[in-house]
Amino acid sequence: MLAFLLTLMLLLGIVIVLAYAERKVAAFMQDRMGPTEAGPYGSLQSVLDVLKLLQKEDIVPAAADKKLFKLAPILIFAAVFAGFAVIPFTPDLIPAGIGIGVFYLLAIISLDVVGLLMAGWGSNNKYAMLGAMRSVAQIVSYEIPAGLAILSVVMICQSLDFQEISYQQGVLLNRFPGLEFEKNWLFGIEALGINTTNIGGITTWNIFRAPLLLVAFVIYFIASLAESNRAPFDIPEAESELVAGFHVEYSGFRFAILFLAEYSMMVLVSLVAVILFLGSWNTPLPNLTTLKLANWTTGTVGELSGILWGGFWLLSKTFVLLFLQLQIRWTYPRLRVDQLMYLCWKVLTPVALVIVLLAGIWRLLMV
């Protein structure tokens, strides 16, 4: 229960910051100023937006399928929020440390699709229906390259446990029960003979441990943009043609929940990308002969320093990825439906399949 509340609070905080950052970043990239009035530099703007939404009337269209319409936002948010249960925030802080975290995450996020379809159908609105159908088609399609990219990580790490994958990517490798005698080699190739177990830092991140995971990371990042309905894959929402896609009929609290779910999805996919590819809560600084940078910036596991350093690295890497998501939204134009499907089925999926194959071979080099 405590983990539930803490995660919810953390998530709300991040989403508020993200919503404000989105408006400011968008404004700066377009040579505008963004919010300036509410609070210093408009920093209270997103808080006020939330307060405004909570005060608004909750309108349910007369012709809507009321049960589905009312339930959909809660289902969507619940599906996304449930994904946070297996996210390790620090070396010893994880809401639910289950052994099949990766599998659970992929499964529970897929529920999102059901909620989207409920919202689109329940609204009894053409735009909402179109938006929901596009959204579902897109999310279901892009789960395949994303899933394959994640699969290649799982093959390299030989684990479905997020916490174990995190431990593997840093100096704390041998502290994880069951990994006491594991070793990290440079680029994961034992034949090179360079032991990086105690060097840590960026040299043990998955994208460094098995450089082909860099390609998997790019694939995953593109697919995750599509899964969270972000530009340039935002055809389900397409402000200019579908008004807002599946949530066009929603107002007040329910809209706030949908909005929250959308931004939570962004945070979640970025967190997963960081955990699987970019070293999770591990520091990027390696230990150099006498400069024990990695040890200094890791802290002691189980103590406050470990929690603070872990949280700091995880969140700062996540925010870098989130910024990239924002920047991409304000840089690239929206793809057409056929281009979207082309990219998914004819480019990303074949490449991801090859990566999975190569990841299997790479794993053989690592042991």
Partner: protein, 201 residues
């Protein structure tokens, strides 16, 4: 001769290159977000030479100065006005309403030395009708009617768009009218008396 700008660019690396150049562009704008366009008037030589930074003007707090010969809200300096009615006559949209009352004696001088002989109990300019042609300011003999640089004067009630420039209260105007009527009565009486006196001769 092949022009690189017209050749159709295809291939993986061309796509990557163009994607990166897009990101560079937005990143450059993001980095320049600490600079701001200065609110300089169009006359300033730097007006067109500020390619970088945010272009937004936080309007009520800052504004681009207007040109000196710009035509915006009218203002009448009633102390200098001789109530000649020229402005009302030339106005193409009849937005100036003037009523005049003759003074019983000379009431003063304008700042350029013209004698004032008329009171103006009504001097109204309906800025909602005004077409900002500026004709009234050109005909004004004492230069009391001028265009000011004020352009932001929207009102909720359209009645407030009528600007009253008279310096007389209604009571004072009534008093002046009665004074004039009394004087004219006296003059008429004097005239009648003089006429009667002449007839008797």
């Amino acid at each position: 001769m092949k022009k690189s700008s017209v050749t159709h660019k295809t291939g993986f690396w061309e796509v990557v290159k163009s994607l990166l150049s897009g990101l560079r562009l937005t990143w450059r704008h993001f980095r320049n977000a600490d600079k701001r366009r200065a609110p300089v008037p169009v006359m300033d030589e730097n007006y067109f030479k500020q390619p970088e930074g945010l272009v937004t003007l936080t309007y009520p707090y800052e504004a681009i100065p207007v040109p000196e010969n710009g035509r915006y809200r009218l203002h009448n300096e009633i102390d200098d006005c001789i109530v000649c009615d020229l402005c009302a006559k030339i106005c193409p949209v009849n937005c100036i309403t003037i009523e005049s009352v003759k003074a019983t004696e000379e009431i003063g001088m304008t700042s350029d030395g013209t004698k004032k002989r008329l009171y103006a109990p009504v001097f109204d300019i309906d800025m909602a009708k005004c077409c900002y042609c500026g004709l009234c300011t050109t005909v004004c003999p004492t230069d009391c009617l001028t265009m000011t640089p004020v352009y932001d004067f929207a009102e909720v009630d359209i009645k407030n768009m009528i600007y009253h420039f008279t310096d007389l209260t209604p009571e004072q105007a009534e008093e002046k009218k009665q004074l004039l009527a009394k004087q004219q009565e006296e003059m008429a009486a004097a005239k009648a008396a003089a006429l009667a006196a002449r007839k008797q001769q």
